[in-house]
Amino acid sequence: MYMKVLSLFAAVVLMAACSSTPKDSGNANGAGLGNNGMTTGSGIGNGSVRPGTQEDLAANVGDRVFFQYDHTDLTPEGRATLDRQAAWLKQYSQLTVTIEGHCDERGTREYNIGLGNRRATAVKNYLVALGISSSRVAIISYGKERPAVVGDSEDAFAQNRRGVTIVN
């Protein structure tokens, strides 16, 4: 069982590594920016964030990963974020999550729904490969219906091409 998980993990990493191109930094880490790893209690923001909540995930782990235009491969930054998410989900093993797949506005509505599903699935598959039970991880695609930020700049588009982990 242990071996199986390990080899699955390796396969995912290889797949992602050979098909992804590094993206320019700057907006790659979103809500998780500046936080390396788990919460230490030293307090980004305020100390009132309850452990094991969406706020905890967003502030101290990183609740989202970003994608390149018309791509569904995880970036190295994205995989690092998901590594932390997997550890966090193992710590709070009672939680279930839904992965939202989102796209920027530079695509047609229906194609973006398909693309959002793929992005959400890429995130889910990575978490599952790290040992999170697939029954704990649901997916939903919002296509381009729920941008995170408003704007027509490449920076805004980059922030909207994302997979967001939502605690149910």
Binding site: D70, E105, Y111
Partner: protein
């Protein structure tokens, strides 16, 4: 509907060169490439005088309003230019006989519409009209319609359709409806609901509340039902909305997200995409038997399926070749053929009601375009280029398309979305007025 007076089957010769040009551009799409600039720049609309319909008693006010709706329909088509009624020198009562053609020639009207409206003893509204060729001094057509008084707008649209067809030789499209997505609220939390209206924006009605995200509505062939995507309960699925009863039901029992629905031309099936997470494939659901049939299979996003009007073929988009492109296949999934090869990505194909074109949304160089192409891949042309234009739908006669534009949010107004209509040659673009922001239009067939 009964024929009131036989029209003279003589060729209408009075319109001169302008009419000839119009007929050519309307009826000869094969020459559209040659005529593109001509149709954009130099189309001469036919001057038409539309007089108030003579009304008595309970129908006294209706006559003016009927003429107003007919006039607005014909003007909006781009093929007619209504003459200013304040210059008219013959009143509706005098026009119940043969018109004084010299008066109308003086106003340079080439066509004249006269009519009368009354409420019958049984409460029925009776509307009659005649279309006159002013230059040839003869009647072209005359029809009478009976309906209930509250249906007067639809009768006016039917009059406009009859005039359009008699003059252009092409079916009209005015007695039809639009279902679309009404948008309110900020971009990051946009509220979307189903709305329906007449093709001219009147008789507007919201069909759903704003609690549930809904997208991409499409009419059934009898215009009684709408297939659409709803995020009800956080489980996005294709739903069916019955316009008369307001009843909504999920379509089919699929294991994952379904989206991008369209009816088959006979109304018996809905075609849609089913996502397995990574890939989306095209399925049909038989509305009678509830039998599901898978039509495509592969590691790609196959979506936006649209039947040809004879039901024998299906256009759809797929990224199986690396980027979004439009493909055509037989209705059973065989005989696959890619039909778009230009620069950029092609999506959202919609087969025209005449069968001769497939409309699409194109992305190239960071911009959107609406275009058309023949089903064999030839004759591609762009109708509209824009920062963001998307989602074409065809008027019932296949000569006009409606689509939506989104504004740039960097212009300081925040996100905006509006409906527009444009003709098959990219000309006569008009904004369609809606009470709130609007997207995802779908045009009904001509109403019965």
């Amino acid at each position: 509907m009964t024929m009131m007076a036989a029209f003279l089957p003589r060729v209408w010769t009075g319109f001169g060169a302008a009419l000839v040009l119009t007929i050519l551009t309307i009826t000869a799409p094969a020459r559209a490439d040659l005529n593109l600039d001509l149709t954009r720049g130099t189309l001469q609309p036919i001057p038409i005088a539309i007089t108030s319909f003579l009304g008595a008693g309970a129908a006294a006010n209706t006559g003016q309003r009927l003429a107003g709706v007919v006039s607005a329909d014909l003007e909006r088509s781009g093929y007619f230019r209504p003459v200013d009624p304040s210059a008219f020198t013959q009143d509706p009562a005098a026009l119940q006989g043969t018109p004084r053609f010299a008066d109308w020639k003086l106003l340079q009207a080439q066509a004249l519409v006269t009519g009368a409206v009354s409420v019958q003893a049984d409460g029925q509204l009776r509307v009659e009209f005649r279309l006159w060729d002013v230059v040839a001094e003869q009647q072209m057509t005359g029809l009478a319609f009976m309906s209930t008084p509250d249906n007067w707008r639809r009768v006016a649209h039917k009059v406009a359709d009859a005039i359009f067809k008699r003059v252009t030789g092409v079916n009209g499209y005015f007695d039809s409806r639009i279902v679309y997505i009404a948008e309110t609220g900020p971009a990051i939390k946009r509220q979307k609901r189903l709305a329906i209206m007449d093709q001219d924006g009147e008789r507007h009605q919201f069909l759903t509340n704003d609690n549930t995200l809904v997208l991409t509505p499409r009419f059934s062939p009898n215009s009684q039902e709408i297939a659409y995507l709803s995020y009800y309960g956080g489980k996005p699925r294709v739903y069916l909305f019955n316009i008369e009863t307001g009843r909504q039901q999920v379509l089919g029992d699929f294991p994952g997200m379904t989206y991008a629905p369209r009816f088959s031309p006979d109304g018996g099936k809905v075609i849609m995409s089913l996502s397995d997470g990574s890939n989306s494939n095209i399925y049909t659901l038989d509305l009678q038997t509830r039998h599901q049939t898978r039509l495509t299979d592969g590691p790609s996003i196959d979506t936006s399926a649209s039947y040809s009007p004879d039901g024998r073929q299906i256009a759809f988009e797929s990224d199986r070749g690396g980027t979004q492109q439009v493909y055509v296949m037989n209705a059973d999934g065989s005989g696959l053929k890619r039909i778009t090869f230009g620069n950029g990505r092609y999506g959202g194909p919609v087969w025209s009601p005449t069968g001769e074109y497939i409309a699409f949304t194109k992305l190239a160089g960071g911009h959107f375009a609406i275009g058309v192409v023949h089903p064999d891949g030839t004759g591609e042309r762009t109708l509209v280029e824009s920062f963001h234009a998307e989602g074409p739908t065809w008027a019932p006669n296949g000569r006009v398309l409606m689509f939506f534009r989104e504004g740039s949010s960097s212009d300081g107004r925040g996100k905006s979305a509006s409906l527009y209509a444009v003709n098959l040659f990219g000309g006569n673009e008009r904004r369609v007025t809606t009470p709130v922001d609007a997207s995802d239009p779908a045009w009904s067939p001509l109403l019965p």
